[in-house]
Subunit: 301 residues, 2 copies
DNA sequence: GTAATGTTTATTATAATAAAAGACACACCG
DNA sequence: CGGTGTGTCTTTTATTATAATAAACATTAC
């Protein structure tokens, strides 16, 4: 029970290596020096030293700690299995929902999912709590969680919200001065798009990465933490959905490239109305694609 | 240890009342009936019945459970102190931050705060995790939480984001047909504003409520869960800040009423440009007020 | 007097656990 | 025998107790 001793085990093994390098008869550095070197607290260092003494690897307690024998591989400690952190969980969870095609309304079993994802139940709880801000999951009346899931309603609202944010970015972008780095970035993106168009027959799958880079570039001109936070969740959802909607992928992607090129022309025209219209057109298509992808995977038909 | 038996205690006391109403010699309903009536599981009901039997209030076990004696006030059970739920925490936390003037960068002590707010530490953790999506708090490298707080940067970005969302609402609103209920709502709001203007000298404090209703009405025309979620956090932050910025309150509020009236005129003019400009003007003032309120309370001067 | 070690305290992350919900199977009664 | 009720057991959650860690403070050695 209580927290894992991963830090202790890692520090122990590292200090074991240090003992080996120093050699028999060598003196151990001070506790403070060790703590600083391995980025752990002195408490951990003292724990390691105590164990080294017990194992007969170092002698003396206090200031004079000399190495008595070289450590053997058997002295290495085996740590507990490393759990994922909450940050690493996001992709895994969305992937699970889409890959397993978990229907909206499903009750999420925290204990079981925690095992499946190899995280602490506690981590999963926190993660759900933060996801509940985006209505992807919801708390059930007396404990537990439920997947709200990606209903068509959800897709429409997410796309609409994305459109609001991206049109705002576009309005900012158009007014940027010619020396702003965004213009060079857009030129590079156009080249990449045209290049992919050349080899679209075989490499249409590469579009997904380009799409993300394209939208990230446009939205990158707005430096706002709320926009960025949402951008994260939006690109996550779109990314995973596209990964699972294989129908018409080639045609879809080729069409999207052409839309992106028109979008780029619009941005560079300096004409606000033209830019916004091109953006709106592309975002509308994206919304339709997301909706279609839901329909393909849907349970109700 | 383990979860509180609040539900058991409440069910017990309610069923005690039922015993009293039924009277000596009366028969208890079935376990299922009791569970349904008091909205608890059969497990709880069985626990209650067992205790009633132990106390000698009912006789027999199984199908025939008769009331033996009337319960006395001493039979009532005393439940554990009720903890707040995560939903009730939001306001309390923001209130604490602003009232105590907690500076950005403060390390938040989960154990201590949990006591202060009378919630489980676990609940506070989840709450922080969900707040971290809005960058109000951040996870520290090796456990623990830190208040990012309401720096001027934060205020600027929050206000800008609010502006993006509200201008989007305005663009929708202007295009709504005359029979849409929003127009009646706006008429009512105008009347309320004019009425408050009459008694502004004494009741300037009432503006805060009106302000929230005003913006809620405008943003209410967009039915989007993401917009709504953000609206919540935005109005929370603005609400608490205004509550603590007492300087010039009367003048500020009177000026804001006039801006609201101009905003209303803009909305009803049917002229998109005029409506958007009026909205933008008011939102800009709001942003300045929020920034000033930060400056007044700031530590650095 | 400085740098090291020894001691104590505070705080977090996790495992253990009581409460609650719910599933299953059998018993009773018309 | 069908339906209602109870006994038993399993599953799952919310909370607490606790080991691991960090960090502050006190003491000793050179």
């Amino acid at each position: 029970m209580a927290r894992t001793n991963t830090r202790f085990v890692e520090a122990f093994n590292e200090i074991l290596t240090l003992c080996e390098e120093t050699g028999i008869g060598g003196a151990m550095p001070s506790e403070n020096a060790l703590a600083a070197q391995f980025d752990v607290s002195r408490t951990v260092v003292r724990g390691v030293l105590a164990r080294l003494f017990d194992e007969g690897i170092i002698s003396g307690t206090g200031r004079e700690k000399l190495i008595q024998r070289l450590p053997t591989p058997a002295d290495q400690m085996q740590g507990p299995p490393v759990l994922l952190t909450i940050e690493e969980l996001e992709g895994k969870f969305l992937d699970w929902v889409l890959r397993m095609d978990v229907p909206p309304g499903t009750v999420l079993n925290v204990a079981q999912l925690a095992k499946e994802f190899s995280v602490a139940t506690h981590t999963l709880q926190e993660f759900f709590s933060s996801l509940s801000r985006f209505s992807i999951v919801a708390r059930r009346p007396r404990g537990g969680w439920e997947l709200n899931g990606f209903t068509p309603d959800y897709a429409v609202e997410l796309s609409d919200f994305r459109t609001v944010l991206e049109l705002n970015s576009v309005r900012h972008l158009v007014e940027l001065p010619p020396q702003h780095p965004i213009w060079a970035k857009l030129d590079k993106l156009e080249a990449d798009h045209r290049e992919l168009l050349q080899r679209i027959d075989t490499d249409y799958h590469d579009f997904s990465v380009l799409d993300e880079a394209f939208h990230a570039a446009i939205n990158g001109v707005v430096t706002n933490r709320f926009v960025k936070e949402f951008q994260n969740i939006i690109s996550l959802v779109f990314h995973y959905h596209f990964q699972w909607n294989k129908s018409d992928e080639r045609t879809r992607n080729e069409a999207a490239i052409h839309e992106h090129l028109a979008y780029l022309d619009g941005l560079r025209s300096g004409d606000m109305t033209r830019a916004v219209d091109a953006a709106r057109a592309h975002l509308m298509t994206s919304k339709q694609t997301l909706l279609n992808s839901l329909r393909v995977n849907s349970h109700t038909g």
